[in-house]
């Protein structure tokens, strides 16, 4: 099911949580809403589910305007951050709940409900646990039951709120892979919220980066990482370094020296240069480069992170070097970013 969010605005007691957000989600897509807390990602998810009503704008499921429909009518599968499993029901009863509360002819017989529940339990690889209560399950198992319960109603869209937020790192990684498999097998249009960029980039077909109630960028992991379209996305996704620069004669300058980067289309004047700390060329001599004094050097996992002081303003910038690179021992290092982007000064 294709989902379209059209110019949606949401206010809580006059405080805007979302400003004029539009988003097209393709049928069968696995999409991540990524952003820091307070960015509006969970609000957007809850709006799609029908747990909240938009202040303005509309949400379409296919061609149908879903915004005025109740959550029951929307038929979405929602997996809550803390799972919200019914604690007094067994795992099988939890999964069958959505079928049990149906009315009249739409309600399957109790044997059929049970059969469906066991089938789904098998899909989420928890066969044999149908008689357990939620309190008797581990966090990862509860997560799977919550997903099975959401899928039992054959939802048009599957919505997951921080699905792995409450789990430890090991289980997180396992479940991430597993969710991808389930998605590929069942083909549900799936939207999940996360603040973990690794999770979003690894798992999703497309990532929606949000900040302060607005969508900053929508794209594949490659798009988002390689061509961020705003300073926010640049600094939020992955590591980044930035330096205040000047554009003159189609070239990038720091203080009174050109640094060997050409920017023929950039408007002249002050700007900020963004690049990835690991995506730099180290240079020996320096005519047209960024040179700085080594202020600090730290070993981080497989690389060495060097902090440089640049120019008279003593701007600090970080670059990454191979661990055994001789430059790490020097007091001055010269480099040039391999891939970079200029943004107007804020």
């Amino acid at each position: 099911m294709e989902v379209r969010v059209v110019n949606v605005r949401k206010e809580f007691e006059r405080f805007p949580a979302l400003h004029d957000v539009s988003l097209d989600i393709k049928s069968g897509e696995l999409i991540a809403l990524l952003g820091p807390s307070g960015s509006g990602k969970t609000t957007l998810l809850r709006l799609i589910a029908g747990l909240e009503r938009p202040t303005k704008g509309a949400i379409f499921f296919g061609e149908e305007d879903a915004s005025q429909k109740s959550i029951q009518e929307r038929n979405v599968g929602f997996v809550f951050q803390h799972y919200a499993l019914f604690r007094h029901m067994t795992v099988a009863d939890n999964i069958g709940f959505g079928l049990k509360v149906r009315h009249g002819a739409a309600r399957p017989s109790s044997q059929e409900i049970r059969r469906r529940a066991l089938e789904l339990l098998d899909l989420v690889q928890l066969s044999g646990l149908e008689k357990r209560y939620p309190a008797q399950l581990s966090g990862g198992q509860r997560q799977r039951v919550a997903l099975a319960r959401a899928m039992a109603i054959e939802p048009k869209v599957l919505l997951l709120d921080e699905p792995f937020g409450a789990l430890d790192a090991q289980v997180r990684r396992e479940l991430r892979r597993w969710l991808r498999e389930i998605h590929d097998r069942t083909g549900h249009t799936t939207v999940f919220v996360t603040h973990d960029q690794e999770e979003a980039l690894e798992l999703a077909d497309r990532v929606v980066v949000m900040s302060q109630g607005r969508i900053e960028q929508v794209g594949t992991a490659d798009d988002i990482y390689d061509t961020p379209n705003s300073p926010f996305v640049y600094s939020f996704i992955g590591e980044s370094s930035s330096l205040p620069v000047k554009v003159e004669n189609g070239e990038v300058w720091i203080a009174d020296r050109p640094i060997g980067l050409e920017a023929p289309h950039a408007p002249p004047g002050e700007a900020v240069l963004y690049f990835r700390p690991h995506d730099v060329d180290l240079l020996d001599g320096c005519s047209g480069c960024i040179a700085g004094t080594v202020a600090a050097s730290r070993r981080v996992a497989g690389t060495r992170r060097v902090e440089l002081e640049i120019g008279g303003e003593r701007q600090r910038v970080e670059i990454e070097l191979p661990v055994d690179h001789p430059a790490a021992q020097k007091s001055r290092v010269a480099f040039r970013p391999r891939r970079w982007k200029l943004f107007p000064k804020a």
Binding site: H82, A84, R87, R142, L167
Partner: protein, 294 residues
């Protein structure tokens, strides 16, 4: 299920560190003080109630319980409890629901208001009804004109009892429902349940033990209430006397066996309530902990 990674909050009995354990003499002193206090103020009166009730033998005990006025007092007490407990069950549930699940203006005020019967002397609660429904009261004229008798009749007793006992169920449920939040209900709705189904299948089972506690306490108080009922009842023998009022009348008439026989029934009720509560905790301890905790 605030944090699923934490399996349970069992108190650490075995691992209690030496730092928070008192020395032996201190522990013995504290325990003794508690036991002596309980013995003098709770156990002794209870024993005396039963001793006095049976002072003239089992025959006299049952004879005094068989007295027509006594039987009528028991009937009235049961009737009042049968009306006021269900009323407060419904009221307590809806008040707790409103306070725990919704945001609205004046919520803090409503919460305080629910506690009012606890903080006001029961006699005052009774007086309020006299001022409201009495012959010289605010609605007295109108009620008289329409031939409605509230004061010195069963309706007045029920009203006073409802007033005095209404915090019990609500008080028990509000913290429980607040702690559980809206998550389960949202989940039920997202799975297609109607509001009523969500309440019936999810909310109610989640609070059933708290609800039962509240009802037990509410019932005990409804049957035992003296002050408020005393003011509005008029003490008409065989008509508007409840058990606690009847105990007082009998006692003032130097009918010790009669008074204590009725008192023993009330004490028995308290004991049954306690035993029921303990049995429930024993039988469903794990389940109760599960619905309250994590």
């Amino acid at each position: 299920m605030a944090d699923p990674e934490i399996k349970s909050y069992e108190p650490h009995h075995e691992s209690r560190s030496a730092a928070v354990t008192e020395s032996r003499p201190v522990r013995i002193t504290l325990t003794t003080v508690t036991l002596v206090f309980l013995g003098i103020f709770l156990l002794l009166p209870l024993i005396i109630v039963f001793k006095e009730a049976f002072a003239k033998g089992v025959g006299a005990y049952f004879q005094s319980l068989g007295d027509a006025d006594t039987r009528s007092a028991i009937r009235l007490t049961l009737l009042v409890a049968a009306i006021s407990v269900p009323l407060n069950l419904v009221f307590g549930l809806s008040a707790a629901w409103a306070i725990a699940k919704f945001e609205f203006k004046g919520k803090a005020f409503l919460t305080t208001l629910i506690d009012l019967p606890f903080s006001v002397s029961p006699v005052i609660s009774g007086l309020v009804y006299v001022l409201l429904f009495g012959a010289q009261g605010l609605l007295g004229e109108w009620l008289k004109a329409h031939g409605i008798q509230i004061l010195f009749a069963v309706p007045g007793i029920v009203l006073a009892t409802v007033f005095v006992t209404f915090p019990f169920v609500a008080r028990e449920l509000i913290p429980l429902m607040q702690e559980q939040g809206n998550g389960d209900e949202e989940a039920a709705l997202s799975l297609g349940a109607s509001g009523w189904q969500a309440f019936w299948y999810v909310t109610l089972p989640n609070v059933k033990w708290g609800l039962l506690y509240g009802v037990l306490l509410c019932n005990a108080r409804a049957m035992g209430e003296f002050g408020a009922v005393s003011v509005v009842s008029g003490h008409i023998r065989g008509l508007t006397n409840t058990m606690p009022l009847h105990v007082e009348i009998l006692y003032n008439e130097y009918n010790a066996v009669g008074a204590f026989a009725v008192a023993s029934l009330l004490a028995g009720l308290a004991l049954v309530t306690l035993v029921l509560k303990t049995l429930l905790e024993m039988r469903y301890g794990a389940e109760i902990a599960a619905t309250r905790g994590h």
